[in-house]
Chain length 225, copies 2
Amino acid sequence: MKLHVQIKMNEALFLRDPESSELGKNILKHSIQLIHKSGFEAFTFKKLAEDIGTTEAGIYRYFENKHKLLLYLTAWYWGWLEFQISFHTNNIDDPTVKLKRIITLLATAVEDDEQTNYINESLLHQIIISEGSKAFLTKQVEEDNKQHFFKPYKDLCAVVGNIILECNLAYKYPRSLASTIVEMAHFQNFFMNNLPSLTDFGNTKEESEIISFLNDLVFAGLNKS
Amino acid sequence: MKLHVQIKMNEALFLRDPESSELGKNILKHSIQLIHKSGFEAFTFKKLAEDIGTTEAGIYRYFENKHKLLLYLTAWYWGWLEFQISFHTNNIDDPTVKLKRIITLLATAVEDDEQTNYINESLLHQIIISEGSKAFLTKQVEEDNKQHFFKPYKDLCAVVGNIILECNLAYKYPRSLASTIVEMAHFQNFFMNNLPSLTDFGNTKEESEIISFLNDLVFAGLNKS
DNA sequence: TTTTTATAATAGTATTACTATCATTCAAAA
DNA sequence: TTTTGAATGATAGTAATACTATTATAAAAA
């Protein structure tokens, strides 16, 4: 039995549900490929349309603009990751072990999970590392937030924050530590590969080292106070 | 006696040195105002030209494109901040005290320092918080890095990393901890003001709390190992 | 005075980010 | 079976963006 993960998406993110048609799925699939290849700035609906073999207008029937598409992809990713996390930590009782497991999941390159053939999770993970912050680093954050576009991200951070609290009820900054872990799992990866002198892993470029760093950072903080 | 801080800029960042003319200084001044007001995405050289009262072509004589201008502004900011840090920690011997001082400087809103009347450091600080990451989160990071456009940022992180080492010679991740501190000083500020549930400071919105969080995070990590 | 240099004024191009219209297909409802 | 309607394809068109080029003019340096 293969359980099919269906991430429930905020309907305000799209005009027409991309998961409801072949064209829609192609939009998701090819946008991931294109953004991964050329970056979000160079990515346009025209290029995407050419890539798919449809027209620009066709894409616009699904997504209002490329920012909404990025919001969609990031929301999908965080939703998917939260599921992965809950799945892989399901049977773990010790919150410390749980938190370590989560750090590993956050900082490890994901392999494409064949469940959803129109979404390449591995590429999407890399997109989130380099482009993810651009989803909220805009003048419209407030509006986008009011429409709950960041809910999956905030939910995931809340999950992590709660486990942090379970590890140490007296710890004063569970939410900030959670967002720090999540952001740094990605940033240290980006730095390691692109600006290596900003990390201690420039030589090996091993994700395992990011994991060690985060574990060290987190558990020192939690055990102290 | 007023000492005039002159940040030495990488000449490959501009076509004509903006600090060498009135128009150039106006470009810096008004670009900071405009980017702060409307965000980097909505910012165009046309609007900037209208704002200054010159023409688009006039701007292009100074900067190749808006990405270079952003690189210039971020490089200026990090150079300026490194000077501020070295100035304000100059006479401090104890590395722990020094590091705390740096964390405070990183996380505190700067007041406009009248030295350079064409650069509003306070606005620039806010720009770095919301737009700074976009300087390196691009497909051209590698090229830009080869041209040393991120040197001021990397230098600052190196300074912080070295002080971390002074605090604890056995600590294994001084560079990564340094970049974490620098990034989080900004991200936690952005989150606090825009996505408050990702932090523990949503109610008070006090920078002092970010400082406490970072101090706690850093010194727990350093004293443990 | 001549020459250089910076700027202003104007024009023009390719691409981007859309919106609108109309014809076609194909499946479901009447 | 016909009708309807929803999704798509094809084509156009517009305003704004991201530039480049040309010429004239004014100010500063030689």
